[in-house]
Amino acid sequence: MKKTIVAMLVAMAAMLLLVVGPAQSKGHLSGQLEIFSWWAGDEGPALQALIDLYEKAHPNVEVVNATVTGGSGVNAKAVLKTRMLGGEPPDSFQVHAGQELIGTWVKADRMEDLTFLFKEQGWMEAFPEGLVELIGTDAGIWSVPVNIHRSNVIWYVPANLDKWGIKAPESWDDFFAVAPKIKEAGVVPLALAQNWTANHLWESVALASLGPDNWDALWTGKLAFDSPEGVKAWELFGKVLEFTNDDASSLSWQQATDMVVDGRAAFNVMGDWAAGYMSTTKKLAPGSGFGWAAAPGTGGEFMFLADSFGLPKGAPNRDNVVAWLALLGSKEGSDAFNPLKGSISARTDSDLSVYNDYAKSASADFGKDRIVGSLAHGVTANEGFMNDFASVMEMFLKSRNAEAAGKAAQQIAMKNGIGK
């Protein structure tokens, strides 16, 4: 009995070797690939589409889909840090492209340079130049962006605007011209939600106030937060806040969007995941049911944020990861993922026919606009700064003191190695 079992095991092992052996010699991959992300809920199907594509191309690789739920990766990032500190990195992990990755993982010498992959795959030409600059440093390029979201968008319902006899504002002065009128009618001019959406609004307002060149200078330390320009941005932000709802901090971003949809508020500045929310959950048609424009004063500028995957040093299955990253950056991969996720592809040559109307317009802008990075979503500043900035924002929301906020922001910039 025992003998037969042993014999069967030996035979099976031999068969496995026969199957695997030739496969390897043909250049196919085997083993495991563990992908760590926070895409569990609505984004799950989009990630699954990518995994399906990968499994079709590399049938011998077992893909382990490790997700930790929680919006913006609040929980996932903490789990990832414990795993990395414990010397057990996943093969590849999701991270916001830019300084959130660079400040935490690249500076700690935990990531491999991906320039070789970008050159090999021809991504230097396929991605816009400004993008590659923002996700890399002098020493290399550190992650492959899977999607692009836009931060500086103002949302509204066209029918409601007609009713009130107003238009989407092109500048904040336009907004201040109509806002008091709307406020008198009992409608909140600009819907706002909890703390992070205030950061989100701040970056659109600051970009409008500073202009793209000064915005970039802020993050290279060439312009101080407590300079006259920096303080002016806070002053403008304070003025904008006067036209927001005062129960903001107990609302989620969806509830702020709901206020616009229900006609309780006129406008809302939110990233373009709001388009997905309004078209999928609220069943509104892009263009007629809900409308959008670049946030006031930021026309011709595209403030982006991106989810990306990188290659940690010491990844157990490096070859599998490289194949995974190649898929993420490919036209096929990004056009399978993004229509489902509600974002646009980072490539300038994607197949627009599979995207909805909002995404088509965003893609067109992405190809021609000036690209700048988002603060609230990790492109321009490291995690230390982002965390401290949240407390500066809380301070400002309470005190409304532009000068003090500028000073505090400069202090945390110095502390976190951004300011000089």
């Binding site: 903490a78 703390n195 129960d247 901090s249 995690e383 230390g384 407390s391 202090q411 976190n416």
Partner: protein, 370 residues
Amino acid sequence: MPNRDRIKAFLTLLPSMILIGVFVYGFIGNTFWLSLTDWGGVAALAENPVRNYAGLTNYKELFTGFLGGGFRQDLVNAVYYSVMLLAGAIGTGLIIAILLDNKPRGEAVFRTIFLYPMSLSFIVTGTIWRWLLAPQGGVNILPTYAGLKPLEFKWLSSTGAIFEFNWQNLLLIGLYIVAAVLIVAGLMAIKQDPPRALKRFLLPGIAIGLATWLFGDLLPKALFMEETHGFNLATIGIIMATIWQYSGYTMALYLAGFTGISQDLRDASMLDGATTAQYYRYIALPMLKPITISAVIILSHISLKMFDLIFAMTGPDNAETGHPALNMYLTTFRANDFAKGAAIAIILFLIAATFIIPYLISSYRQRSTR
């Protein structure tokens, strides 16, 4: 052979002593060491991060630094939160326990109903109460059912604060509190032992109070700028939710105590002409002092490490309802400032110790005198 017994006892205890030594005290020690370093910032997560000894910089930064304002507000919040929770949960629990102790009809049903919130996790409680306390729903629209106007209070996002004080005057306020505590203790002890109460409590208390009042201006300022902190009204919502969850628990504690008191005692007191109120005030409650003490200990350390309820109700970055435990998590795992996170953890640990160590000492003494 008592000696052999001792060895056996020691050997039996050894494994747990080692495990607790390593995993509790060892890690407390390690956290304390980390709080004295500068581990954080850029490259904090490198394979072999650089950690330099930095002395008490982190603590100094938290209590007197420009950027520590958030932490200071959190600490003040935690103090108010603990006090309100203790008063609320013990008071409510006691009242319910007394009502149930008088055996109303359906006592068992009520007991289950009141104890039920205990079985929920804080995340569930937090989510339920976040909905109940939403600005345009739940509690705020209750009056509309009676034809009244809805409430306008923003339970979780109000920016109002009461009992405000300036952090600069921290030393001053601390001394006043010490003086007040001494005087109250002295007044309470004066009946039993007048000379001792006078010498030990009253006179030093009055002296400290007077000295502070006269020379308080000479005290060094705790901070270089004015910074007011107070009891944020937005924490009322969180306190309500916690009381809702824990008053059933204190009720159960007291109820168990009340049923443990012999019926003869109650009958005897009634025969002597005591009213029900007098029975509870002078006989039942003094007998349940150990229960009150353990309720205080349990609730105070729960309030000091409160995290999940606040996270579920108001999320991170809500300065109005912040708590040091939340701040510690964000500082450590979001900002990668491990040393400062460790410092916050140690501060919380020390505050908890001030509650628990006196309790341990007194119970140890009681046991050894017995």
